[in-house]
Every structure is written in structure tokens, then in C-alpha cells.
């Protein structure tokens, strides 16, 4: 049997109307400005940067309103497996290659993005972002500033689209508003403003929610020193950073599951939930993928813990080596290259259109692994299965970005308690029979198993 979608009756009969065309035009203009700058065509940044960003934002808003508000509220997944974008078609590949390329440039070839080195001023794309960077930090844009701005734009504009798509579901609306605000303020505006106010002090990470081990350099000597020398604010960040992963995270995860972080505040999660929504169905649901996932993600966690132990050892003993090996060359650099850049960035986002939106969160994030251990063994969170109502249709598994085969549990009447579940709630939203509910409750009966369908009293008599 062929594994293709069966569709031959034209699935794209929906015509694009005039307003939609205008909106797409706006988005194209915005992207074109970015592309032209990248190609080093000189544009007046003070005019063209706001023009680019606002036309992308506005275009997305108009387009989303147009496509979703003319339909009744409800699940809007029609044709996801027919469209090129969401089913690994040509558009998907083009976007994937572009994104991957962009990440490669940011991490390893920022000069191609126009970053001025050795005192030269910015050119190209970086120069386009200079006015905004001067506004916040009083200095030219770095590639990370360009990246952070575009990242935030993606989450806010596509977050708006997501809210309209799920406007019948208050869990989704509230969660998405929180994840958008969290990116906009905690990850972008507040750190940029603080950076500007403290431009005389050395850099340290100022996104209060980006904790170790996701932020893997938190305990590096230079970072600890910069925080210690960063005045009161630096000390606050140091203490908070440790408390956050050591105390706050276990406690909150106990009460509500790791979703509070992964799908409510995290930046990686925020992008996956909004920009990545078109790709959630692409994650592999195979048992073999699950097995691979467990090795990978716990392997990365172990790597992060070992690396941090080494750098802390260095810090307190004032050394730079461990067991005779240079910590930077042998541990920090490989981690930064393999995990920090290649995995979380290039593969994690660049491969969205191929592997789904949560590749990093599922296979690589050491913080997700850490919280997953609590979620699996000591938490009140579970997805409750509604008795015998499951019809094994598979919508839940299909929509699970973490590749959890939700149906495998639901059809047995079992609750879903999985380390990897990020609590996005989409499985529950798309279930046509109202079978799934994310909830926090008594640890007793959290993992139930009903070998016999509720509603069938036959076998209970005997077994």
C-alpha cells in the first residue's frame, strides 16, 4: 500500500481572495527588504527596518484574520497533509533550507550577514537593524540582535495566527498569549533595555527564564564572574538563576507538569508552538523514535551535567583543565558547537519543515530532560483519558509535536504520563470525541490502567 495521501480531488480549491493577496503581498515586501539587505543592497535603515517589520506583522495579522475569521470556530486542520508547506513538499524544503542556511550564517559566518568586525561598521542585514539596536543598547546590531528581533517577530505574528486558529479553545488562547508576552518582554525587551542601562558592565544573560542547563554557559567562569561583577543586578541574576532550576522548577513541575515552562514561557517552545504549528504532525510516532529520544535527551543532560561539573571545578580551583585536558577545547567548545549551535539551532529550527517543530525539545533539550524526570515520577500532571470514549482515530497522535503516540494510551483507557509531554494541549483540542484532558490532580490513580473498556461489565466478573 502506498504511503501517500490519497487526495486526488483538488484539495486546494479554496481560492485566495483579494485581501489575502494584499496581505501576502505585504509579507513578501517585508521579507524582500530583508533579502535585499542581505544581498548588500543599501537601504535607508531608519525607513526600511520599520517598514519591513511592520509589513510582516501587519500582513500576517490581516492574512490570519481573513483565513480564520471567515470560518466558524473549530479545528482547522483541513488539508494539512495535502499542502506543500505542511507535508514536506517543495515549499517546506525551500523554507527548511533557507532557515538552516540562516542558522549556519548566524553561528559561524556572521560576517556574511553584514556583521562589522575589527571596528568596521555593519553592512547588509546587520546594518538594517542598527537603528533599533542603537535605540536599545546604543551600539551597532550584533547578529544575535538581528536574530532575537526576527525571532520575537515570528512568535508574536504567528502567535496571533495561532490564537485565531484555536479561538474556540481558551486553554490555547491563554497559553499562547502568555508565551507571546513572555518572549516579547522576558526574552527580548527587558534584556535589551537592561543591557542598554548597563552597557558599562560586561555581558551576562538577562533573560530571567532562560535557566541552566538550557542556558549551558550559565556556570562558565566568565559568566559567573560577569554576574558577580555586574552589581546588584548581576547578583540577583546569579541567585535567581540557581534558585530557578534548583527550587522553583521542581516545585512548579510537581504541581502542573513541565508544561509551565515548555509550552508557556520557553522561547524555543514559544517558537515551536507558534511558527512551528504547521509542522507538528511531522514528528515521528514510532516506538523506535521514542527509544532513540530517551537515549539522546538523557545523553545530552548527562553531557551538560558533566560539562558544568568540570567548569565549576575549574572555577573553584582556579584551573582551566580537568584530568589534564583543557576544559574549553575538550568539553565546552564541543558542547557549544554540537549541542548549543548545531542541535538547538540548525537542526532544532532549520529542520522544522522536515522533522516537526519540537526536534530540539524532544531529543536534545537538557532542561526538558531534567523536568521530564520530575514529570514522569513526581508530579500531579497527567492527561486523563475519558473512560471508553476513544475511537482510535489517531488525531491526537498525529497532532502531537513530541511524537507521543497518545492514541496508544487513550484506546486502552489509560492516562498519559510521559516525560516528554510539553502540555501543549493540542491532542485534547483536536480529539473529536472529547477523550483527553490535561489536568493536575492526586498522584494516586495518576497512572491507571483499565484492561477492560468501561461500559463492558462482562469480564470484570471473571477477571
Amino acid at each position: 500500500m502506498k504511503n501517500e495521501s490519497l487526495s486526488i480531488s483538488n484539495p486546494d480549491k479554496n481560492k485566495i481572495d483579494f485581501i489575502e493577496k494584499v496581505a501576502i503581498g505585504l509579507i513578501t515586501v517585508g521579507l524582500l527588504i530583508l533579502a535585499l539587505s542581505f544581498l548588500n543592497i543599501k537601504l535607508n535603515a531608519v525607513i526600511f527596518l520599520p517598514l519591513s517589520l511592520s509589513s510582516i506583522l501587519l500582513g500576517t495579522i490581516v492574512y490570519s484574520r481573513r483565513i480564520y475569521l471567515k470560518k466558524l470556530p473549530g479545528i482547522k486542520n483541513d488539508a494539512v497533509w495535502f499542502r506543500s508547506l505542511s507535508s514536506r513538499g517543495l515549499i517546506a524544503w525551500s523554507i527548511g533550507i533557507t532557515l538552516t542556511g540562516f542558522y549556519v550564517l548566524i553561528y559561524w559566518f556572521p560576517r556574511i550577514l553584514g556583521l562589522g568586525v575589527n571596528g568596521n561598521s555593519n553592512t547588509g542585514l546587520a546594518a538594517l537593524f542598527d537603528p533599533l539596536s542603537y535605540f536599545f543598547e546604543g551600539k551597532p546590531a550584533s547578529q544575535w540582535f538581528v536574530y532575537g528581533t526576527l525571532y520575537t517577530l515570528c512568535i508574536t505574528s504567528l502567535g496571533y495566527k495561532f490564537i485565531l486558529k484555536y479561538r474556540h479553545n481558551r486553554y490555547q488562547i491563554i497559553r499562547t498569549i502568555v508565551v507571546m508576552l513572555s518572549q516579547l518582554f522576558f526574552a527580548y525587551l527587558i534584556p535589551e533595555i537592561l543591557e542598554g542601562l548597563n552597557s558599562d558592565k560586561a555581558y551576562f544573560a538577562k533573560d530571567i527564564k532562560n535557566m541552566w542547563p538550557l542556558n549551558y554557559y550559565f556556570f562558565d567562569s566568565w559568566h559567573i564572574d560577569n554576574m558577580r561583577n555586574g552589581g546588584t543586578m548581576g547578583m540577583i541574576y546569579l541567585v535567581w538563576g540557581i534558585a530557578l532550576f534548583l527550587i522553583v522548577t521542581p516545585i512548579v513541575t510537581y504541581f502542573v507538569g513541565k508544561r509551565w515552562y515548555c509550552s508557556w514561557v520557553c522561547g524555543c517552545g514559544g517558537l515551536a508552538e507558534t511558527a512551528g504549528d504547521s509542522f507538528r504532525q511531522l514528528s515521528s510516532k514510532k516506538v523506535s523514535a521514542w527509544k532513540f529520544e530517551r537515549y539522546m535527551i538523557h545523553g545530552v543532560l548527562l553531557f551538560a551535567v558533566l560539562m558544568t561539573s568540570a567548569v565549576l571545578y575549574n572555577y573553584f580551583t582556579n584551573t582551566t583543565t580537568i584530568f589534564g585536558l583543557d576544559t574549553y577545547t575538550w568539553i565546552r567548545q564541543p558542547y557549544g558547537f554540537l549541542i548549543g549551535a548545531a542541535f538547538s539551532g540548525v537542526i532544532g529550527v532549520g529542520f522544522y519543515p522536515m522533522l516537526g517543530s519540537r526536534v530540539w525539545c524532544r531529543f536534545g533539550c537538557p532542561l526538558a530532560a531534567y523536568m521530564g524526570i520530575f514529570q514522569r515520577f513526581k508530579s500531579r500532571f497527567r492527561i486523563t483519558t475519558n473512560g471508553g470514549q476513544c475511537i482510535s482515530c489517531g488525531n491526537c497522535s498525529n497532532s502531537c509535536e513530541m511524537g507521543i503516540d497518545v492514541r496508544a494510551y487513550a484506546q486502552k483507557g489509560e492516562n498519559i504520563v510521559r516525560a516528554s509531554c510539553v502540555g501543549c494541549g493540542i491532542c485534547s483540542a483536536v480529539c473529536p470525541r472529547g477523550v483527553l484532558k490535561l489536568e493536575n490532580g492526586d498522584e494516586k490513580n495518576r497512572i491507571n490502567s483499565n484492561p477492560i473498556s468501561i461500559g463492558n461489565n462482562s469480564a470484570k466478573l471473571n477477571m
Partner: protein
């Protein structure tokens, strides 16, 4: 793929009995899995539809593009190998119960020790003129879905005949491809054999909102062909003609048992069985859509063509086959469906008409498409059933209340505990309780 020779060799040589199941739908597969859990029997599952079990209830989602066919398979293909359940893609054309042998349409044959008939249903056709034209079809099997892809290519307008659950699904499918739909429903109100009037009207409003041309109280009279043998229009019982290039016939299903005609196995509408799923012939059983109980069990219908029932049949019969003879003892009825965007759940018995003894309390949201009906016994006030539209309810809790024979007052008071809507959803229990109290005071509760 399993070959007959290998099967015969292995199953003959093994000491355990050979359980052969015809049909890899939910009932056959549930039976096979549960027999495997509890015994070492040699198990073969035969189907001519697809190699592997898939979820029939998900057919519509393949067409509307939520999923691909492989996403509707509840188990990975390797599952069957790992669990030593042999699968065989053959059509059984004859059953010889004397020799305990099946004959396939390709001439091969296979012997069994225990035979389970789980062959499901087929779509009804009522002998309308033109019902076999090109572009006219039912929707039951994977092949029907493939045909529907062919038949709806370049179609502008379609007619769906029959206002049941599959009819609504078909209308939604066609709509997803921007095909106009006229929906003929014989009854005066949508699905009014099952839904009380208020619920039916609510769904009708919603169907109309989706720009479906809903024709209540209208039957199909004739399907008209163009010069190439393809449908070009239909004529309704009211004499109207509707131009269309596709006609979906969704006027119910009946057991798929034609191949048993000369087998000596006792059939009526379905294969006749007792509470142990035993047919008139030893070692031959029937479950799922195709099984018909000789008499009603626990007040349930003799033929129950739904997913959950097939699952329960499969579970129960598996115990008997594995050596623990078990009678079928279904609990409280439940079912669910989705009408475009409105989810529906039902528990227990919610009559469409209310007599001297039975009454119901109905609440509907003033603007949204959300409603709840609680049916109860007028004398005792005991709960007998619940219909919920747009509100999810906890199966376990309602099932418990039905068993514990709770009163309607108790149900209203504790309704919040039965709510299963996602977190942060607006809750209506207070509105419902207020409305209930108000009507109770004015004693205008009934119906």
C-alpha cells in the same frame, strides 16, 4: 505477508488450537489481541480490505487531510509480527463448517479450530433507480474512500442522502473540498430517531451555518444519468430536481454476511448468536457489527453497529476462547460523535419522547451551540441518561451515577465534578443549576 502454506505448517504442528478470525476491524482485532494476551493459540486474522487494521472511524480525516492512511493505523505494522498474530489478505467466499475449512476467492483454503466471524457491515442501498451509476456510492470501506476520491474529482455539487452520523461526516468531507452539498434527510428533523427535538434543531442550525443545503422531510426518488452513465441530477420525493455530479448514499448499514449463505450458520439480519457469541454451530462465533443477539441483553438493541460495542464483544469473546467462558454483559450505553464543530456525548438512555414516567431537563446556551439534557424518571427522580453537546463529560462519573441511581437533583448539584472540558474553559454548571431551580419552582420541568 503470511502464506497459507506456512500458516498451515506452523499451526498444524503446534499443539495449540488455530483461531481464525474473519475481519480485521475493531471487533476482530480486539478479540485477536486479547486472545494473544491470555493464550498461546495460533491466531490468524483475515481481511480483504487492508493488510493491517485501521480505524474506520478515521476515514473522513484522511479525506479532509488531517491524516494519511498510515496515521489511522492504531498499531505499527511490526506489532502483529511481534505478537504473533498472522494476518492474511484474502476474501473468504465459503465456509465449510463440517470440515472446518474456509475457501478463499482465489481458490486457496484454510482450516480452523475456532472461527470468529467479525465481518462488519456494508452500506445499505434501497433499490433506487440509478443507484449503481458512476458517481453514486456509500462510505464504509477503505475502497469506498478511494472511490470517493475518484468520484469527487472536479465535482461542484453533491447530494448526500440519509441523515445519520456517516451522512454528516460525508457532508463535512465534501465541504472541506469546497464542494456544494445538498443534504436530504427523510425525517422531519435531523437524526430524530435518536435526538430529541431541541438537540436536532441545534444541529440543523449548525449544519445550515456551514452552508449545507439541508432538506428535511425529503427523500431520494431517482438518480438521473447523463449520456455517459454518470450521475447528473437527482429527483426528490417532493419532485424537485437537484443538479449534482456526486451522490453519497448514507442510509445506514447492514451486516456483511452474504458469503455465509450456504454455510449452515444461522443468520437473520446478522449472524444469530447467544450471550456467549455462539452461533448454532460449535466453535463458530460472531462479534461486532455483523452479530445479532437472539434476544436483547440488558435492554440493548440486538444489533449494535458501533465501535465501542465491537470492542466490548472482542474483549468478552477473547476470554471465552482463552478458556474462561464469559457471557456478554454490557454496562450503561454510551456513544459520541461530532457534527462539524459540535461534539456530542451521550450516556445511558435519553428518549426522544417523554411519557408519563419519563421526563427531562434541557438547558441550552442562549447564543452558543452548547446544550445539555438530563433524562430522569418522574416518579423516582432517578437519572436515566444524559445528552451533552459542546460540553465534555467524564464517562466514569456519569457511568457511576447511572449505576448508583442518583437523582436529578444530585446530578445538577454535582455536575461540575463531571465536567471534562479543557482547563480554562468557561463553565456553565451554575447557569444550568439556576435554570433547573427556576423551572423546578415554576414546575415547568418536564420536557
Amino acid at each position: 505477508m503470511t502464506t497459507i502454506n506456512r500458516l498451515l505448517r506452523e499451526c498444524k504442528s503446534s499443539a495449540s488450537k488455530h483461531v481464525v478470525i474473519i475481519g480485521n476491524g475493531i471487533s476482530g482485532i480486539t478479540c485477536a489481541r486479547n486472545v494473544r494476551k491470555n493464550s498461546t493459540a495460533c491466531i490468524t486474522v483475515i481481511s480483504s480490505e487492508t493488510d493491517h487494521h485501521f480505524s474506520r472511524t478515521a476515514l473522513m480525516y484522511i479525506y479532509i487531510g488531517h491524516m494519511r492512511f498510515q496515521d489511522t493505523k492504531p498499531y505499527e505494522d511490526s506489532f502483529w509480527v511481534k505478537n504473533k498474530i498472522d494476518i492474511l489478505n484474502r476474501f473468504v467466499s465459503k465456509v465449510n463448517t463440517d470440515e472446518k475449512m474456509l475457501t478463499f476467492s482465489n481458490g486457496e483454503s484454510l482450516t480452523y479450530d475456532v472461527l470468529v466471524i467479525a465481518t462488519g457491515s456494508k452500506s445499505n442501498k434501497f433499490g433506487w433507480p440509478g443507484q449503481d451509476l458512476h458517481g453514486v456510492q456509500g462510505l464504509y470501506s477503505y475502497q469506498d474512500l478511494q472511490l470517493m476520491e475518484q468520484n469527487t474529482k472536479d465535482v461542484n455539487h453533491a447530494v448526500v442522502v440519509g441523515g445519520g452520523l456517516i451522512g454528516v461526516e460525508m457532508a463535512e468531507m465534501l465541504k472541506s473540498r469546497n464542494i456544494g452539498v445538498s443534504f436530504l434527510v427523510r425525517e422531519q428533523h435531523f437524526w430524530d430517531a435518536v435526538l430529541p427535538m431541541e438537540e436536532a434543531v441545534l444541529i440543523e442550525r449548525h449544519i445550515l451555518e456551514h452552508n449545507i443545503n439541508l432538506r428535511l422531510g425529503t427523500e431520494l426518488k431517482e438518480i438521473i444519468s447523463d449520456e455517459r452513465g454518470k450521475v447528473k441530477s437527482i429527483i426528490t420525493s417532493k419532485g424537485e430536481s437537484i443538479k449534482c455530479e456526486f451522490v453519497g448514499l448514507t442510509v445506514g448499514v447492514s451486516p456483511n454476511i452474504l458469503f455465509l449463505k450456504d454455510s449452515g450458520i444461522n443468520t437473520d439480519r446478522g449472524v444469530v448468536v447467544n450471550e456467549f457469541f455462539e452461533t448454532n454451530i460449535e466453535d463458530v462465533f460472531a462479534i461486532g457489527d455483523c452479530a445479532q443477539f437472539e434476544k436483547s441483553i440488558n435492554g440493548r438493541r440486538q444489533l449494535e453497529q458501533v465501535w465501542y460495542t465491537g470492542k466490548m464483544h472482542g474483549e468478552t469473546l477473547a476470554h471465552s476462547i482463552s478458556g474462561v467462558k464469559t457471557a456478554y454483559n454490557p454496562g450503561h450505553w454510551f456513544n459520541s460523535a461530532k457534527f462539524f464543530d459540535i461534539e456530542y456525548q451521550t450516556y445511558g438512555n435519553v428518549p426522544t419522547n417523554y411519557s408519563e414516567q419519563l421526563a427531562s431537563f434541557y438547558w441550552e446556551h442562549p447564543t452558543k451551540k452548547i446544550c445539555l439534557r438530563i433524562a430522569y424518571n418522574k416518579q423516582t427522580n432517578i437519572l436515566i441518561g444524559v445528552n451533552a453537546f459542546g460540553i465534555r463529560l467524564r464517562h466514569q462519573i456519569i457511568d457511576k451515577w447511572l449505576s448508583e441511581e442518583r437523582t436529578i437533583d444530585y446530578v445538577i448539584e454535582n455536575l461540575a465534578g463531571a465536567n471534562f472540558d479543557p482547563e480554562f474553559f468557561i463553565k456553565y454548571e451554575n447557569d444550568i443549576a439556576d435554570s433547573y431551580k427556576f423551572r423546578k419552582q415554576k414546575s415547568i420541568l418536564s420536557n
